[in-house]
C-alpha cells in the first residue's frame, strides 16, 4: 500500500472576550497589583471570582480584596514547559488558596525542583513587570518564608480605566492525514490524473474518494480514473476577496461533474470571462508545474451539455 500522506496543520485564532463586570474588576485589579475575590451568599470568598453564586445561582457582585500570599493546596511538577506557559524552565503547577480566599487559584510556582514543593507551603505572587490586565500579570508564584501576612488594603474593585476585554489566542497543533483513499487521489493528481473510487454496492464513483461510501457505509477500493473533461453543474461568482485566499475577484467557483464521476467536485473556472460561465459548460483541468491539484478548469470548446444529462448531479 502506498504511503499515507501527512502534514502539520496549525489551527490558530485570536479570540476576543468581553469580560463583564466581575472579570473586568478582577483583571483590572491584577494590573494594579490588587487581587479581588467575590463574596457568595453563604459568606465565602471565591478567587478567582465568578459572576453567579455556585450554590444559589444568584448574581454576585460584592468584590473584596485578598492577600498576595497564600498556601499551596495541591501541585504537579511540569518537567517540560511548552510554548506559552508561564515559565520556560521546569516549574510546578499549583493551586493556591490566597489568604482571605476560600477557593484556590491555578498558577505556576517557580521552584528549584519537585523536592522544593509541598502541599501546605507558603507562597506569594511575583508580579510581572509589565501588566495589562490579564492573568499573566501574575508572572508566577514564588516561595514565601516570612510568617507575616500582608493585610489587604480593602479595595472595592472600582478602578480608573477598567479593562473590559481581553484577547485569548487559541492554537491547536495537529498532524493531519487525509487517509489512504485521499492520499491516492492526491498522489495521482501529481501525475495529472484524477482518480476516484467505486462503491462495490451502489456502483457510484466518488471523486475525491473518502475510502467509504457515505450512503452504503461500505469500504471502497476499486480505483476509477475520471475526466479529464467535465460539466459545470452549477456555480457562483465570488465578488468578495477573502483574507486567507490569494485569488483575484471576481472569480467563478464551480461544481464540476467530471466524466465518469457520480458527484461534482469543486473548482475555479477560468479561461473565460466570469460573466460567460454557465451551467452545462464543458471544461477540463489546467495543470501547473508542481501543483497538488488543477489550478483551475477551462472551457474545452465542446457544445454545452444538455441539462437532462447532468441534472441529477446538481
Amino acid at each position: 500500500m502506498p504511503e499515507v500522506l501527512k502534514a502539520p496543520l496549525v489551527v490558530e485564532f485570536p479570540f476576543t472576550r468581553s469580560l463583564g463586570p466581575v472579570q473586568s474588576a478582577f483583571l483590572t485589579g491584577l494590573r494594579e497589583r490588587v487581587v479581588l475575590g467575590v463574596k457568595t451568599g453563604d459568606g465565602r470568598t471565591l478567587v478567582p471570582p465568578v459572576e453567579y453564586d455556585p450554590v444559589t445561582s444568584e448574581e454576585i457582585r460584592d468584590l473584596v480584596e485578598v492577600a498576595p500570599t497564600g498556601t499551596v493546596t495541591t501541585w504537579a511538577w511540569n518537567h517540560a514547559p511548552r510554548r506559552g506557559q508561564p515559565l520556560d524552565t521546569p516549574f510546578a503547577w499549583v493551586l493556591v488558596r490566597l489568604d482571605g480566599a476560600d477557593t484556590s487559584l491555578l498558577h505556576a510556582l517557580d521552584a528549584t525542583g519537585p523536592d522544593a514543593v509541598h502541599t501546605g507551603m507558603r507562597v506569594r505572587i511575583r508580579w510581572a513587570e509589565e501588566r495589562s490586565g490579564a492573568i499573566t500579570d501574575i508572572a508566577c508564584f514564588e516561595p514565601y518564608d516570612s510568617v507575616e501576612t500582608p493585610e489587604p488594603a480593602g479595595h472595592d474593585g472600582r478602578f480608573e480605566d477598567m479593562v473590559t476585554g481581553i484577547v485569548a489566542p487559541a492554537r491547536l497543533d495537529y498532524t493531519y492525514s487525509p487517509g489512504r483513499a485521499q492520499s491516492g487521489y492526491i498522489n495521482a493528481l501529481s501525475d495529472r490524473r484524477i482518480v476516484g473510487e467505486r462503491c462495490p454496492s451502489c456502483r457510484k464513483v466518488y471523486v475525491p474518494p473518502r475510502g467509504a461510501c457515505p450512503t452504503c457505509g461500505v469500504a471502497t477500493v476499486e480505483e476509477v480514473e475520471v475526466g479529464p473533461g467535465g460539466t459545470v453543474t452549477t456555480y457562483c461568482i465570488v465578488n468578495i476577496k477573502a483574507k486567507n485566499l490569494d485569488i483575484e475577484v471576481p472569480y467563478v467557483y464551480g461544481h464540476i461533474a467530471l466524466d465518469g464521476a457520480d458527484l461534482a467536485l469543486h473548482g475555479r473556472i477560468g479561461g473565460i470571462p466570469y460573466d460567460q460561465v454557465r451551467m452545462g459548460l464543458r471544461v477540463e483541468p489546467v495543470w501547473t508545474d508542481g501543483g497538488r491539484y488543477p489550478d483551475h478548469y477551462r472551457p474545452t470548446g465542446e457544445p454545452d451539455a444538455d441539462y437532462e444529462t447532468y441534472k441529477e448531479l446538481v
Binding site: 496543520l9 485521499q182 450512503t215 461568482i237 468578495i240
Partner: protein, 388 residues
C-alpha cells in the same frame, strides 16, 4: 405508555446586536435565561435540568460551554447537557430538552442556545487551511450560492424573488424589538441595488453577524397548569441528518429535510401543511432559502415555492406568514438562530409576539437546518394541548 405532553411556558431573548461588549458570555446567556424564567414566573430552584447548545467550537473558541456556564445557568447539582448540530443546534437543543419531559425524565427543563459572533470569526471557522486541499472559498455564502442558482434553474423563478424575501423579512424585523437589524429606510430598490457578493446572492439577501441568546422553559402538564401565561404545546418534533455530500444528494431540497417534516406532520396529524399550519419560522440565512424550504417542507409543490413568496402569501399579513420576527436575515447569532425560530413559533401560538403577532395563530412550525444542509430539526407547536 404515551408520552407526557410538553408545554413551552417561558421564553426569553436578548436584544440581538452586532457586539455585546458589556457582558461576558455568561452574562449574555444569563440575561436570556432570566427573562425566560421571569416569563414563566419560576425561579432557578424550579428547574430540574439544563440543555444548552451553541455554534461549532471553532466559531467561538469555547470548547466546553456546559462547564463554563453551569453557574450562570443555575445548573449546579442538576443534569446539564450540551448538544451539537452546527447551525440547526438551537432547534435540536430544544428537542433534546423536549424529550426529557416527554419521556418523564424531568418535569421542568431550561433550554438555551447562544453565540457571540463578535468574539470570533465564523468565516475563519469555516475556512480552515486543510493540507493538500486547494483553498477556494471562504464562508457560507459561496457554499450555498451555487445551490441557489440550481434552484433558480430548476424552477425558472424570476431573479427578483430573493430580494422580495429580504425586503419582507427586514420590514418584519422593524416590528420585533429583539431583532438585530432595524433598517428603517429599507426599500425594495435598495435591496435590489445592493452589491452581488456571491452571485446570485446579494449583500442585502444575506444574514448579519450577531451576538445573542435565546432560552425557553419547557414543562409537563402539571407545570403548564401553573403557568401564568398561555402555554405553547408541542404537537410534533423531529430531527434528521444526512451527509454533506454524497452521490445523489439533492442539495436544493435535501431528503433529510423532507423526511423530518413528514415525521413532524405525522406526529401532529397534519395532512395538508399549507392549510393546517398558520405561520412558519424557518431558517433562511440567504433569502432564496425561503422558497427552497417552502417546497422542502411541503408548503408548495416542487418548483412552486417562489410563487408563494412572489404573490405575498408569506408576508406578515399573508395567508401563510413566514419569518414574522424578521428571521435569520435580520438576526443571526448562529448558535441561537435555530432556537429563536422555535421560540418565535411558540410566541405566535401563545399570542405573545407583540407587534409582529399574527392574529389567530393556532399552529406554527419552527424549523432549523445546519452544516452543508445536512442537519434538520423542526417542531410544530399549538395553542391547544395535543389530542391524546
Amino acid at each position: 405508555m404515551s408520552k407526557e405532553p410538553v408545554a413551552v411556558v417561558g421564553i426569553g431573548q436578548t436584544k440581538h446586536v452586532a457586539a455585546r461588549r458589556d457582558v461576558s458570555i455568561a452574562g449574555l446567556v444569563r440575561e436570556a435565561a432570566q427573562r425566560a424564567l421571569d416569563d414563566a414566573e419560576l425561579t432557578w430552584a424550579d428547574i430540574d435540568a439544563v440543555v444548552i447548545g451553541k455554534a461549532p467550537d471553532f466559531f467561538e473558541g469555547v470548547m466546553m460551554p456546559e462547564l463554563y456556564l453551569a453557574d450562570a445557568l443555575g445548573a449546579v447539582g442538576k443534569p446539564m447537557l450540551r448538544v451539537h448540530t452546527a447551525g440547526s443546534v438551537g432547534g435540536s437543543t430544544a428537542l433534546v430538552a423536549t424529550n426529557l419531559i416527554a419521556g418523564r425524565v424531568h418535569g421542568t427543563v431550561l433550554t438555551l442556545a447562544y453565540e457571540k459572533q463578535s468574539e470570533s470569526n465564523a468565516m475563519w471557522g469555516l475556512s480552515l487551511p486543510i493540507p493538500f486541499q486547494q483553498p477556494l472559498l471562504a464562508g457560507a455564502g459561496g457554499f450555498f450560492a451555487p445551490h441557489v442558482r440550481a434552484y433558480m434553474r430548476r424552477t425558472a423563478a424570476p431573479d427578483t424573488v430573493g430580494s422580495l424575501v429580504a425586503y419582507k423579512d427586514r420590514r418584519n424585523a422593524l416590528k420585533n424589538p429583539y431583532a438585530h437589524l432595524h433598517e428603517h429606510d429599507i426599500t425594495l430598490e435598495k435591496v435590489q441595488a445592493s452589491p452581488m457578493l456571491w452571485d446570485p446572492i446579494r449583500y442585502s439577501e444575506t444574514c448579519p453577524s450577531s451576538d445573542g441568546a435565546c432560552a425557553m422553559v419547557l414543562t409537563d402538564r402539571v407545570g403548564a397548569a401553573r403557568s401564568p401565561r398561555p402555554a405553547a404545546w408541542l404537537h410534533g418534533g423531529a430531527m434528521r441528518s444526512e451527509p454533506t455530500m454524497f452521490a445523489g444528494k439533492d442539495c436544493v431540497s435535501p431528503q433529510a429535510g423532507k423526511d423530518c417534516a413528514a415525521d413532524v406532520y405525522q406526529q401532529a396529524g397534519i395532512t395538508d401543511p399549507r392549510r393546517e399550519i398558520d405561520a412558519v419560522e424557518m431558517y433562511v440565512p440567504f433569502s432564496w432559502y425561503e422558497p427552497m424550504w417552502l417546497e422542502n417542507l411541503g408548503f408548495a409543490a416542487e418548483g412552486e415555492g417562489w410563487k408563494l413568496t412572489e404573490s405575498g402569501v408569506t408576508e406578515l399579513d399573508g395567508d401563510l406568514p413566514v419569518n414574522m420576527s424578521g428571521g435569520v436575515l435580520s438576526t443571526n447569532p448562529i448558535g441561537a438562530s435555530g432556537m429563536i425560530r422555535f421560540a418565535e413559533a411558540a410566541l405566535q401560538v401563545r399570542g405573545q409576539a407583540g407587534e409582529h403577532q399574527v392574529d389567530g395563530v393556532r399552529r406554527a412550525l419552527g424549523h432549523a437546518y445546519g452544516g452543508g444542509s445536512q442537519f434538520f430539526s423542526m417542531w410544530l407547536v399549538g395553542a391547544e394541548p395535543p389530542a391524546s
